[in-house]
Symmetry: C2
DNA sequence: TATAATTTTTGACCAATGTCAAAAAACGAA
DNA sequence: TTCGTTTTTTGACATTGGTCAAAAATTATA
């Protein structure tokens, strides 16, 4: 559990009391490749911290699987839309590798948010960070060419290309697998 | 100031004490069309609540002005990236109409976040809502055709088309003005 | 290993959308 | 109203990237 807390405290330091409370809530989960954390249509009631491994969120569009996001070491993972709103998820969450995760339920988190201002702050700060991340992806998606998107990925998150099948990467970038393959062959 | 608080309390109800503290911080601003709230390169130190009017955030890309977002009545408006990180903004914020705004500085907000758990919660909830909004725009940007994007806009936010020049709408959708014009003529 | 299943690459073709330039329309100020 | 500016539309053309199908390469399994 050390690792979990050292990562959490990168966002915001916590008192002993808050850490204890969190400790009581987070449950360790170990799952193997290809298992699912969530299927579309289900309400996502868990927030996960990914200690080790790789995960993807994907949804179906015209019969194709579109990768919405990847999660790697030290990412918080959930279907944010479903977790926040309580609506059924449009996305599936599936393991790309065997993973070690820490899980907390929305109910538990809600209680902690009531009890601890500092946890409320932690969550607020996490949202800030994730908002900014998403904004960057959005701007890229709107105006970069397929080649630029690939170059970006190579520079900023090369581990994605090393750990994830190409088809999943292509839809993550918003391009076809064939186009991604052709771009790659130019390098 | 009634209006401001009734909108804020749509996100999260506040105690009298928290409201008073907020009241002391929010300053009313009235500006006219085409004035700027922020120029690229400046650090955005203010968060605005837009009571009346219309605003856009835009940045420059290859000599073109790209509309990043629109703000209308009851939106919170800032350069989120710059406001959160303290980095110089890449975007400009400009009034599309005369506006009535309420302004609070980052410093003031930071103090309130320290003093009031409930304001921390308010902000956390605002981020949740804005995160989800952005996620929807992102998914659209990645996989919808120009025509679908226009139809979406017509259905979900028709006021944008009524209040904003077409060029600004086109870059907001991530398509060229000419394409938007052609699509429009089909309706 | 050998075989099957999956993933990636390649080729041919096509549709959607961008670009540039000019005309038309709408808007604003004198 | 009229003139000048800005915005929107239209036309011709180029280009990016998508689609479908098949081959090649890689990976998994018996």
């Amino acid at each position: 559990m050390h690792h979990l807390f050292s990562q959490i405290e990168n966002y915001h330091p916590l008192s002993a009391a808050a850490k204890e409370a969190l400790q009581d809530c987070f449950k360790k989960i170990t799952l193997s490749k290809n298992e699912s954390l969530l299927n579309e249509g289900q309400v996502c009631k868990q927030l996960y911290f990914l200690e080790k491994g790789a995960i993807r969120g994907f949804y179906n569009l015209d019969g194709k699987e579109i990768t919405h996001w990847f999660g790697f070491e030290n990412d918080f993972v959930t279907s944010f839309h479903s977790f926040i709103t309580g609506d059924p998820a449009v996305e599936n969450i599936q393991l790309l590798e065997g993973c070690v995760l820490w899980s907390i339920s929305k109910e538990q988190l809600t209680q902690l948010l009531d009890q601890f201002h500092e946890i409320e702050r932690l969550v607020r700060i996490v949202y800030e960070k994730y908002y900014i991340r998403l904004e960057e992806r959005f701007v890229n998606a709107q105006f970069k060419t397929a080649k630029e998107l690939y170059e970006n990925l190579l520079e900023q998150t090369p581990h994605i290309l090393e750990r994830v099948p190409l088809g999943a990467v292509a839809s993550y970038l918003g391009i076809s697998q064939e186009t991604l393959s052709r771009i790659r062959s130019q390098f």
